[in-house]
Each structure stands twice: as structure tokens, then as C-alpha cells.
């Protein structure tokens, strides 16, 4: 995801990063990326927020529903406060409640938020669980492999981007 963000122009500002509370690595990587952007584009606003992880790898379906609801309680106020124009996500469970919140902004007539999902490069034949859900909720659904696009006609394949 950060490699994709690196390629975006400075028109995409402010940037709000939302990561799972148990994520130890991403914050450092984000700060590193933003520091290198600052050298190139000058001072641009960005923020980092943490929400509870909605699903750990291998977690069962039934308990995932509960933890996702828990995560939704945190996502909803955050998304309503940030009111983004665009939500960009790449698959961890945490993006499901965020996209649901973003969708709700549109449904309630507050703001139409564009949801763009980028499936992981690891997915060649099947979608991830988040992917299966967000395939139906996103405006654009990008996959990294042609074989996956052929199975999911609504998805977009523009070549491998990572």
C-alpha cells in the first residue's frame, strides 16, 4: 500500500492513515514515507489513527463478526470526523468497518466517498475475506493478476502495480 501511495501526486492531501492497534510496523514506515515526501513536496498534512483490528489472520467467521462490530464502533466516528473524499484500502480486516462507515456517509447523504480497494499481490486465484466483502461495496476493485480478474468480472486489472 505504501508503495502505491508513494506514486500518488501531491493532490492527495491531507492523508489520513488508519492502522490496526496491534500493528507495530506500519507507523514507522508511514513516517518514513511522509518524511521523504516532505523533502520532495514540502510540508503536507497527514495524520495517523489506530483502531482495533477487526480480524486476526485465521480467526473464525463467527468471532470475526463480533470483533468487526467492535472495530466499527471506532471506525464510524473517525470516518464521520475525517469525511474523506477517497478511501484507499488493501485488504487487512481493518478496512471492512472503515469502508462500511464510508458507505454510510454516502447513504446518509453526508458525502459520497469513493472507495478503492487493491487486492493483495498474494491473491492469484481467490479473493481474501476482506476482498470478498469489499468486492460488493467498493467503487473500484483492483486485482494484481489477470487470472483473478477473469473470475471477478467487476474487478479491474491494469497490470501488476506492486
Amino acid at each position: 500500500m505504501l508503495r502505491l501511495l508513494e506514486s500518488l501526486s501531491q493532490a492527495y492531501v491531507p492523508r489520513h492513515y488508519i492502522i490496526a492497534d496491534t500493528d507495530k510496523m506500519s507507523e514507522d514506515k508511514i513516517r518514513f514515507l511522509e518524511a521523504s515526501r516532505r523533502e520532495k513536496d514540502g510540508e503536507q498534512k497527514f495524520t495517523i489513527h489506530r483502531i482495533p483490528r477487526s480480524r486476526e489472520v485465521q480467526q473464525s467467521w463467527s468471532s470475526s463478526v463480533l470483533t468487526t462490530l467492535h472495530s466499527l464502533v471506532y471506525s464510524m466516528p473517525l470516518v464521520f470526523k475525517l469525511r474523506p473524499d477517497l478511501v484507499l484500502c488493501n485488504g487487512p480486516g481493518t478496512c471492512v468497518p472503515l469502508c462500511v462507515s464510508a458507505l454510510l456517509l454516502g447513504v446518509l447523504g453526508v458525502k459520497k466517498v469513493l472507495i478503492v480497494y487493491v487486492e493483495s499481490i498474494c491473491r492469484v486465484e481467490t479473493l481474501s475475506l476482506s476482498g470478498k466483502i469489499l468486492y460488493h461495496l467498493s467503487d473500484y476493485f483492483l486485482v494484481q493478476w489477470l487470472s483473478l480478474q477473469e473470475k471477478y468480472p467487476k474487478s479491474v486489472y491494469i497490470g501488476r502495480t506492486v
Binding site: L4, L8, A11, L114, I121, V124, E125, T126, G159
Partner: protein
Amino acid sequence: MKSVFVTVGTTSFDELIACVSSEDAVQALRALGYSRLVLQIGRGSVRPDSAACPGIELRVFRYKDSIAEEIRSADLVVSHAGAGSCLETLGAGKPLLVVVNDGLMSNHQLELARQLHREGHLHYCTCSTLVETLRTMDLSALMPLLPGQPGKFASFLDRAVGLR
């Protein structure tokens, strides 16, 4: 001095470590001209020592913040099927042999390794066929993996949000 770097990622893959440091494997590596073997063993419980691998210089460690340097200085990388190690190795332009963990057959990470194998970017085996694969594989037949194009994503997104 040709060297092999073996990586198991964040968890463990004892079977691979045991297999690649076995007498047969070391002999096969030496026959191919490798004289140094570096093992990243994660939290595994198998930790071979130099005495067990005569004729090859052995270095073993559990984790490192970045394995980029190890990959760069290796002439062959033997890796678990994890997406991170596979992409990092191929990105560095190094020949890659992926050893599939039979115990994790349903693991979706295998999808990527299998696809990269289909496209001819890496060799692929299990622990039981490792020695045979080392002896017979042709590294010169591997195709380089072209880097992904994040710029295409940027243009796509610019159009999607109406910037152009």
C-alpha cells in the same frame, strides 16, 4: 565464494532447515560450487552447527530487521513460500528456490509462489525433493520478474477521482 541464503520468514520451518543442512544437501551444494550457507531459522528449534556440515562455511541466525543485505550477498536464495521473501528475492534479481511446507497446504500464500513458478520466475519443491531439485534445477532458465508499476495505479486513480 558462492553462497546460499536460506530463509524461513517470521515463523519456523524446521523441516527445511534440517533438510538443507543434511549431509546430502550440503554435498549437493558443494558440488554446485557453493561454499557458504547462511540460515535464517526464525523461531525454529532446529539449529545446525558447523560440525554437522563439514566442508561448508555455516552461519545461523534467527531474525534480522532486514534480510535485504543477506539476499544481496547470496548467489542462491532458498525460501519458504512467503510472499515477502519471494518478492524481495526476485526484486533483487537473485535465483530463487521455494520450498513448500507440506504442513501448510491450504495456505493462500502458496498461490503467489505457484503463480511465480508458472511464469518461470522461480523453482519450486518440497523438503522431500529438495536435494534432487538442487542437483537438477537450471538457474539460467529462470526469467527475471519485472518490477510492478505503481505509476499505472497513480494514473488510474487520478482518472477515478477526476483529477484528469
